[in-house]
Amino acid sequence: MSVPVLAARDIHKSYGRGPTRFEALKGVSIDIHSGETIAIVGKSGSGKSTLMHLLALLDKPSKGEVELSGRDAAALSGSALNKTRNETFGFVFQQFFLTPGTSVLDNVTLPLRIAGVRGAERRRRGMAALEQLELADKAKNKATDLSGGQKQRVVIARALVNNPSVIFADEPTGNLDSATGAVVEDILFNLNRTHGITVIIVTHDEELAARCDRRVYIRDGLVVESLAAPTGVAPGASTSTSIASSSAGTTTSTSEASA
């Protein structure tokens, strides 16, 4: 079996100390393979967001280790961590986090600007990402003037612009109506299919989770269940084409909008 692109080895995470100490994760192990789509499912406060933050190397576990392509991430220096997050990961958030008052293109090229890519190259790659999401004509618009679905597409373009190998999507459809939510979902699964990008989705939406290769259920800081996709495709197999295409038209039911 291939080395997982990301792996959690019995990770614990607690906040605070003494009587106010709160344990968000109580020993979670998970392997995520390259080219996989995985849903981390759970209710509010289940620890699913904490798990995503640890996997995305935004935080360090209190105990246990996170492995990046088989290597302990704790050994990485601060700048190497920053570089990894910048070049390997893409982030899609429920709340978009677009910088108000700046253009769509500037928002999309933010990761490139952080990476120090020069102006012309940055523009070229930003436009390429926008074209991929059919937003090229909006490049000069203010990010705040777009509709919800367009905003989320801009966010995906921003996550894609650095050609990441892993995209983290935290409730990507939570702020969208079901129709635009479905479009965004299609885009994410399509990226996985055509570019082989590993997609990690954190959600409490069962229907979105059901479209993934694998669902990991988290409750009270523990993995309670891990299910492969209904069609029985093994985790780690990157041949998820059939699932994605077969389920593409089925997501018509209402997605729950989160608070």
Binding site: L58, T102, I114
Partner: protein, 431 residues
């Protein structure tokens, strides 16, 4: 993020919240504007003094007087038959009891190491000056010394070692004496009248070679060259005993003005040890300049207080900005922007605001300064030609801009540190 992008982002971020940036820039503008004007006044007045200094004396001379002994003890000094107090020839800053400098003293002074030459300072008291048969006007005659530069409005200044009797007239004498104009006076001969020790009046004719501009110091006396001064002195000393005639209130010591300050101090210490008081031109002007400097310092102090207040404005503005952009900062950090870069981004924003405020403030200050100069030149300062009240030294102006940017940077560190320390997870939390 490379440096160019950092600066670009900082600039566009500051422009994003226009009203807030504008108000902060305005606060800095007021400070920088005031500082520019006050330091401009300091530069203007000091520059005027420097110009005037060269008409008071050369920079390579020391005026030496002989210290009267026991002047510090209380009560009357004991009579010393050898002590020959100077009578009627006071000159310069001499005040209480100055002992006369005799030819023997001149020889002594010449022995002191570092002294190039010693000349007795002779003072002449003239009665009047007259053109032809015209009116007689009271006049005092000063002698020029080598290295002195007079502020001429017409003609040239008298040549120190010329054989002819040369004199420069202050501009205020031109019309009363009957000249039609400044240039008319140049080349004419005027008569100087004086009374000798026996009470006999005599006259000496001298050629006017130039017309001087009234300055801050000594602007109302005529300036004679050495030959004329000696002639006047001889005429005035008729009937004096030789010992009185050869005693002077002070002497002028010339030194090499390229020597270091330490060497000059040593030289003056040697003079003091030999029993002489020494005064350089710097000493004479120094006290005047230090008064001006003190006033300017106080004014600058007020401007700096304004700038410090503006600094708190920057802290406030940027703290609000950091607060407002919590999400953006969190996002940038999540996407791999290091804390150092985030710090630079906000610091640069502060520096940019500082630069905007100071550049506009300095520019407006300079414009206002030129306006004030133009307005005052014809009215309040008409009696002080040559005085530019507000003058600008590129170095001083540059220093103001740099200082304000430094203050802005310091003010920016608090919000920038807060931004740099922000936890991306905390910043991006929305549940």
């Amino acid at each position: 993020m490379n440096a160019f992008d950092l600066i670009g982002s900082a600039v566009s971020n500051s422009i994003r919240s226009k009203t807030r940036t504008l108000l902060t820039v305005l606060a800095i503008f007021i400070g920088a504007f005031t500082l520019t004007l006050t330091s401009g006044v300091g530069t203007g007045i000091n520059r005027y003094i420097d110009d005037t200094v060269s008409s008071i004396g050369a920079s390579d001379i020391i005026t030496v007087t002989k210290t009267a002994e026991e002047t510090t003890t209380e009560g009357p000094a004991e009579y010393n038959p050898d002590s020959n107090l100077v009578d009627g020839q006071f000159q310069g800053p001499a005040t209480t009891s100055v002992e006369a400098i005799t030819p023997a003293d001149i020889d002594d002074l010449a022995e002191v190491s570092g002294v190039l030459s010693v000349e007795p300072t002779i003072g002449v008291a003239t009665d009047y000056v007259q053109l032809g048969d015209g009116g007689q006007y009271q006049a005092s005659v000063g002698s020029i010394i080598p290295g002195m530069t007079l502020q001429m409005v017409s003609g040239a200044q008298p040549v120190y070692n010329a054989d002819d009797y040369e004199i420069a007239l202050p501009e205020s004498y031109i019309t009363p004496l009957g000249f039609s104009g400044n240039s008319d006076a140049v080349g004419q001969t005027i008569t100087i009248g004086l009374t000798d020790a026996t009470g006999t009046s005599s006259t000496i004719d001298a050629t006017v070679v130039g017309v001087t501009e009234p300055g801050l110091v000594g602007g109302s006396s005529l300036s004679a060259n050495d030959a004329l001064t000696q002639a006047l002195y001889s005429a005035q000393s008729v009937g004096l005993a030789d010992s009185t005639r050869d005693s002077y209130s002070s002497a002028t010591v010339r030194f090499d003005d390229t020597i270091s300050d330490e060497a000059l101090t040593d030289l003056r210490d040697d003079l003091t040890a030999a029993g002489y008081d020494s005064t350089t031109v710097e000493d004479q002007i120094g006290s005047f300049k230090s008064v001006i400097d003190a006033i300017v310092l106080v004014l600058n102090g007020f401007a700096v207080i304004a700038l410090i207040a503006a600094g708190f404005g920057i802290v406030n503005t940027l703290l609000m900005s950091v607060q407002e952009r919590t999400r953006e900062i969190g996002l940038m950090k999540a996407m791999g922007m290091g804390g150092g870069r985030v710090f630079s981004l906000f610091s640069l924003e502060a520096v940019f605001i500082g630069f905007l405020g100071s550049a506009i403030g300095v520019g407006a200050g300079m414009l206002a300064g030129f306006g004030v100069n133009t307005a005052l030149a014809g009215s309040l300062l008409a009696d002080l030609p040559g005085l530019t009240l507000v003058a600008f030294d590129p170095l001083a102006v540059g220093t103001i801009v740099i200082t304000v940017m430094a203050i802005a940077f310091l003010a920016g560190t608090i919000p920038a540190l807060r931004a740099a320390k922000a936890d991306p997870i905390e910043s991006l939390r929305y549940e």
